[in-house]
Amino acid sequence: MSMLLLSLKALLSHYWRYPWQALFLLVGLCAGVGLWSAVQVINSHARASYEQANQVLGTQAHFWIRAANGTGVSTQDYTALRRLGFREVYPVVQGIITTATNQRIPLIATDPIVLPAEVLQTNTSTVAFNDLAFIQPPYQAWFPPDLANELNLTANTRVLLKNGQTLPPAILQTQAQQGRQVLLDIAPALKALQRSTLSYLAVTPLSSERQTQLEQALPPHLRLIPNRQSLDLTQLTQSLHTQLTAMSLLSFAVGLFIVFNAVRFSLWYRRPTLRTLRLIGVSVQTLMLAIGLETVIWSIVGSSLGLLIGYGLSQILLPAMSASLQSLYGANIGSHIILQPTTVLLAWLLTLGGLIIALALPLWQQLRLPVLPSHSLSTYWLTDQRTRRYLLLAAIGLSILALVLYPLISTLIQGFILLGIVLLAGAWALPSLLALSLTLLERLLPKHSFQGRWLIRDGWAQLPALRTAMMALLLALTANLGVEALVGSFRTALSDWLEQRLSSDLYVQGSSSFDLATLRANPSTATWLKAVNERTQVTLRYQDQPLVLRGLDHSAPDTQELGITQALPQTINLWRNLDTQQNWVLANEQLHFLGSKQIGEKLELQTPQGLKPFTIAAFVHDYGNPYYQLYIPNRVLKTYWPQPEPWNISLWLNNPSDLPKAEQALLNAGAKAGDWTVQQTIKAASMKIFERTFAMTAAINSLTLWVAGIALLAALMAILQERLPEFAQWRALGVNTREQWLVMSVPLLLWASITWLVALPLGALLSWLLIHKLNVMAFGWSMPLLWSMRPAGVLALMTLGVIAITLVVVAWQLKRQLPQTLARLGGQL
């Protein structure tokens, strides 16, 4: 056997004797790789889903044919176009149906018989899309399994709707990217929605000649609109995926701290082996090669196990992620996850890289030591001061770098790099702060207190081993506090926004038969109706992004209370005035932060009469909107876009007890059951969506804290293994259990408290950067930072809990191993 293999065998044999070390090394690797790969798997899965989503019914169309007034396309118009030979055209119906139990389900429908070949080619389902049963009475309603599960639906059940209609028998299968929507044929879909018109017609690629022909063939009330939204989903969700990737990398960094500790200890324990190998003639180069081989073995084992854990975690986290994407962007992702080979390779490379980073310094320190025995671990603290000083200098350097970079940050990635620098600076400054706390404690203790002196001196000996674990804990606590503040601020911002936006009592949306004029004409309406806001919309493109022009009633109560963040004086008055010279608009903050628009700046918008200028009078807070949006009084909007799409109608009641009267009046004015929603229902649904949106963030957040807990446990276990003979000596000198625990746990509790205290300002800084810098860059809207001490208190308790668990495990180990170690005192331990 070669010298290299012999050395490798000798090095690996260490882990048979100390399986705990092997376990903690693996735990570190698995924890880091597991969380990172779980997010990677979900991210790549989501991206693959967007790709598929872009190929589905109408979304992949190159053009859409829509009604100019937004009411929908009649089946007669569609049939006429088909009869004229436009085989590129196929119908799409979309809408929301409400079940008898008040569950709202998105619906999509088409006519599979007329689907062009290229649309069918994108269909990856194993089920034939043009199945005859799908298009013939009693038809079929295809439910994705997760949606069916949510509705407690079994095969062949017919869902009863609030409007009295019944869906065709349920089939629990998913057509290629129907997402979380029920898929129907056109005929049952129109019946379920009680509609007579199609949502739009989708058109496959056309030559310019064919496009001209189609435009000429269209009746005046229909428009051919190029579809430039196919990439929007990928673009819109990019920020969320980047954020999650950053969080998973943070978890990986915390895992790396565990690995660093484990590697350091494993090398330390093997110093006699390394020394012996060098004494018998193994060169430093061969030893490095052997350790390199060992690293590769660990990276393969660690990344494989980590990937397995990550895959399992991704299955658990997927519903939360799915909810986030659905509620933030309306994006649907499938429920079947596939591990991509690139993720596997990346996980291995990341693990190997992480191990090399963790190994480099301890290995260099170890191999430059003289062959002859040197100081023991207990005296290592004497030389630790220099390391702490270097770390502090590096932390100061990083802080200066962060200050220099802060004004220059312009992209989300750069923002996360800035966060990484801030976090690393905090972590590297921590050992010096821990040392300072011990010095201060030493000064506080009475000079003549022998036990106090012993405790302090022992604390110094524990510091080198515990500082890495404390740094991991600091990262986890800081990230936790930062994200908690972020989510708390989001929650308050949403709640305030809902209060303002959902101030009306009733909403009517998606009703093709409701007529507001009929409602108003009824003399009894005045007895209960306080105010109305009829909203309309026009969708345009601006800076290659969707831009929504929202027409509002300028006198409506919610319009009066729009949350204005920046404005010209007398904004609302300017905006209300029908000043065709200026065309004042209110813009959402997204246009300011993402579109770089300023107050008073003019926007050139495409109207049916050509490009027209509009001036920004104010920026409005617009929580969670992924699109640019402008607010224009309805009467101004109709000047330029005579037939805007109806959006929704808000109704304010004189008295909440007028609700039954109002609902009856709505029915009399043509609305159908399920067409309106009571305000409280929407608020509750919105808050529920919010909680689901942040479920993924919360899950990663708490997992990171547990990883840090494991880091602490691993460090303490390693210290215990190293110090067990020393504890036995103490016992031999008459030290009792209480004294031993006091010496062991006081520095630990002191440092955990200091770490928690440092995490408070660092967490506040992190949340400030997340909210005022990264959130604005990622989503384009701002909100006030709300700092609460409650999460900090909860984290303090959790940290104490982690330490308590750790101490219990250590106490159990000590109880088990100490008698044996005591009996071996004086012998070769």
Binding site: W381, A732, L733, V735, T737, E739, L822, G826, G827
Partner: protein
């Protein structure tokens, strides 16, 4: 002072068999007396010392220290006994590396609340440690470290000092120096001393010598 009655101890082997180390061993050591325990490697000398110190438990028999049986004591009572009545000196010194020489010397006396500054000054002077007090253990030579361990063991004037090969790590000259000091200071402290050693020369410093053979103690004459 110390009495061992029918003391037995065996070690269980991985194959399930037990190897007897001590068999119905009887022994007595009076107050202020010193005895050396000689024997071949693996004869059970250190095991016997550990049993007397309460670091290990006998399979059968009794250990009485100042008429008190160790068998009935709890772990905390044993710790109390070790801190006040017994002192241990090991071949490896076992100094607390994070504490200075001065703190190491005071360690057990402070725990036992029997610190005596005058006796400490005398011990330090006799053991030639005056210039080493602010140093840390790793900055001392082996002989110096063992002298610190002796000072620590005697500062609280324990009733019984147990020494396990105290000169095993020292050269011949240092060994004789340390041994002479140890036997003299133990007498001055009024303690009893039981010492395990391989060396007949070191054993010669003490009042009595015993051989441990096949689990049984034999006096020098009968051995």
């Amino acid at each position: 002072m110390l009495e061992l009655i029918q003391l037995s101890k065996a070690y269980r082997q991985p194959d399930g068999y037990s190897t007897p180390i001590l068999s119905n061993l009887n022994f007595q050591l009076g107050a202020g007396q010193s005895a050396a325990l000689l024997g071949a490697s693996g004869s059970g000398k250190s095991t016997l010392l550990h049993l007397i110190a309460g670091l290990d438990k006998p399979d059968a028999g009794h250990i009485l220290i100042q008429q008190q049986s160790l068998t009935d004591l709890t772990e905390s009572q044993l710790a109390q006994l070790r801190r006040t009545t017994i002192s241990l000196i090991f071949q490896q010194f076992y100094l607390i590396s994070t504490l200075s020489v001065a703190d190491n010397i005071r360690f057990q006396a402070q725990l036992a609340k029997r610190y005596n500054a005058q006796w400490e000054a005398e011990l330090i002077e006799r053991l030639d440690l005056t210039s080493q007090l602010q140093k840390y253990p790793h900055q001392l030579s082996g002989g110096q470290q063992q002298r610190v361990a002796i000072a620590r063991a005697l500062l609280h004037k324990p009733a019984l000092v147990l020494a396990d090969e105290p000169t095993g790590n020292l050269d011949e000259h240092s060994s004789e120096q340390v041994m002479a000091l140890l036997s003299e200071l133990v007498k001055q402290a009024g303690s009893s001393l039981l010492m395990v050693t391989h060396s007949k020369v070191m054993a010669g410093y003490l009042d009595q010598q015993y051989w441990l053979k096949s689990g049984v103690l034999h006096s020098k004459e009968s051995a």
